[in-house]
């Protein structure tokens, strides 16, 4: 009963929501609103669960001295942002937005820019044109990279055109095929959830 009733609940809700796409009418409009409100409230409670989870994790880290000082720093920064948001508001030109522009943005941009080095070093170690397929991958990536910088044009004026063609034609075809595969796979997964064959989201 710990799993059967939730699965049945899911099936009923799924059928009602699925039917909403095909049947128009007053009942369906109300039902749409009913579920939409439910999802909004679920989102609110989801945020609360997230806040509780973060607080709990950091509490244990501080209590059991698992990188205690970093956890204290993290919690301090959270409280600082909340304090700034409450006292000064979130509009541009406030201390809250200044923290975003002067702390969050540089940290985020630098963390992601670090990946440039690691991607480059990983590519240097693993990109070996051992087969036709890997050679094609290597060639496509080099052409696309060269096409996006001025030196590509200097080397050969047709490189930007080739880069554009790769992005528009074969890359677009590959992406589309993968999107098709993704949609088909997700439909299969949803049908499994629908009929209770997939139960990994439920606890024992």
């Amino acid at each position: 009963m710990k799993k059967e009733i939730p699965i049945l609940l899911g099936l009923i809700v799924g059928i009602l929501w699925y039917g909403e796409f095909f049947i128009a009418g007053m009942f369906q409009e109300n039902q749409k609103l009913f579920f939409a409100n439910g999802m909004k409230i679920a989102g609110v409670i989801g945020i609360m669960v997230g806040v509780y989870s973060v607080a709990r994790q950091n509490y244990y880290k501080i209590k059991y001295n698992n990188e205690r000082y970093y956890a204290i720093l993290r919690v301090f920064m959270i409280f600082l942002m909340i304090f700034l948001g409450i006292t000064s508001g979130t509009s541009p030109g406030t201390p809250f937005s200044s923290m975003f522009m002067s702390v969050y943005v540089p940290f985020q941009a630098t963390v992601f820019s670090l990946l440039a080095f690691y991607i480059a070093s990983a590519a240097y170690r693993s990109f070996k044109a051992k087969s036709v397929e890997s050679g094609v991958l290597l060639a496509a990536s080099i052409i696309v990279m060269l096409s996006k910088i001025p030196i590509g044009q200097e080397i050969w004026s047709q490189i930007p055109v080739m880069g554009e063609w790769i992005m528009d034609a074969p890359s677009s075809a590959g992406r589309r095929a993968i999107i098709f595969g993704g949609y088909l796979g997700s439909i299969t997964m949803m049908i499994r959830i629908f009929f209770g064959l997939e139960r990994s989201h439920l606890s024992e």
């Binding site: 975003f100 440039a116 589309r176 993968i178």
Partner: protein
């Protein structure tokens, strides 16, 4: 001086706006040498600021309009329809049982509902998207120049060939095998192009960081020297790592 003016003086002055981004950039870049406390401090400041920022915006754009305001309205004038809010609230609250080891199953009611909802909602959307993608494929062959028409051929046959690679109901031999092989090549081009675009995106972010350091030269030099001195002290005197066998041999 009131608190608001004090906060404005701290967070909006030129010192804060110029020194902190430079220091943040150099702290994170110090990871290129090795993992160190400065990087970890920067990482935790980033996580804390990101969480605080996200929560405040969530409060402003989700919690307040979708929860606080309806509850306030409920107290002003109660409608029969408002009972649904209470029901949803109680159902969503069961999510907290996930933290309990004994009673985690109570949350199944909420997750059963949520996943059923998502399944019912997502299946028609996914089918619509597949049909939309298929419709976008069907464009006239005559696109003007040969260059544009070649794109049409590659997109149509490339998509078909790549899809054939995922067709496992027949062994990949003969014509199907050859088509699947073309499909692999098409996907490899896509992966290569995606890789190239990602690298260039990251490099442009790095250039942006470098431009920031150029914009504030004095701050950059001071922060860089301070970070280098700290790292020399840290790795030389505070954290003495045992050398690996191959390093000690060298």
């Amino acid at each position: 001086m009131d608190i608001k003016a004090l906060l404005d003086n701290i967070f909006l002055n030129d010192m804060f706006v110029s020194w902190i981004p430079v220091l943040a950039t150099i702290m994170i870049l110090s990871f290129l040498y090795r993992d160190n406390p400065l990087y970890k401090i920067g990482e935790n400041i980033f996580i804390g600021v990101a969480l605080g920022y996200g929560w405040i915006l969530s409060w402003e754009y989700i919690v307040d309009p979708f929860f606080i305001m309806p509850v306030k309205d409920m107290f002003v004038e109660f409608h029969f329809w408002d009972i649904t809010y209470i029901l949803w609230f109680l159902l969503a609250l069961t999510m907290f049982f996930r933290f309990s080891r004994k009673n985690a199953w109570v949350a199944n009611y909420y997750f059963g509902f949520l996943f059923g909802y998502m399944a019912g909602y997502y299946i028609p959307i996914a089918i619509q998207n597949i049909l939309r993608q298929s419709t976008d494929l069907m464009k006239p062959i005559n696109q003007g120049s040969f260059f544009e028409s070649s794109k049409w051929f590659v997109i149509i046959f490339g998509t078909f060939a790549a899809l054939m690679y995922f067709f496992f109901s027949k062994p990949h031999r003969g014509l199907l095998g050859k088509t699947a092989r073309v499909g692999i090549v098409v996907m490899m081009i896509f992966f290569g192009a995606a890789f190239g675009s990602t690298v260039m995106g990251r490099v442009s972010l790095f250039i942006d960081r470098a431009l920031l350091l150029v914009e504030f030269p004095m701050q950059s030099i001071v922060c860089t020297i301070a970070v280098i001195i700290y790292m020399i002290i840290y790795f030389k005197f505070i954290k003495k790592e045992k050398l690996h066998d191959d390093e000690s041999f060298i």
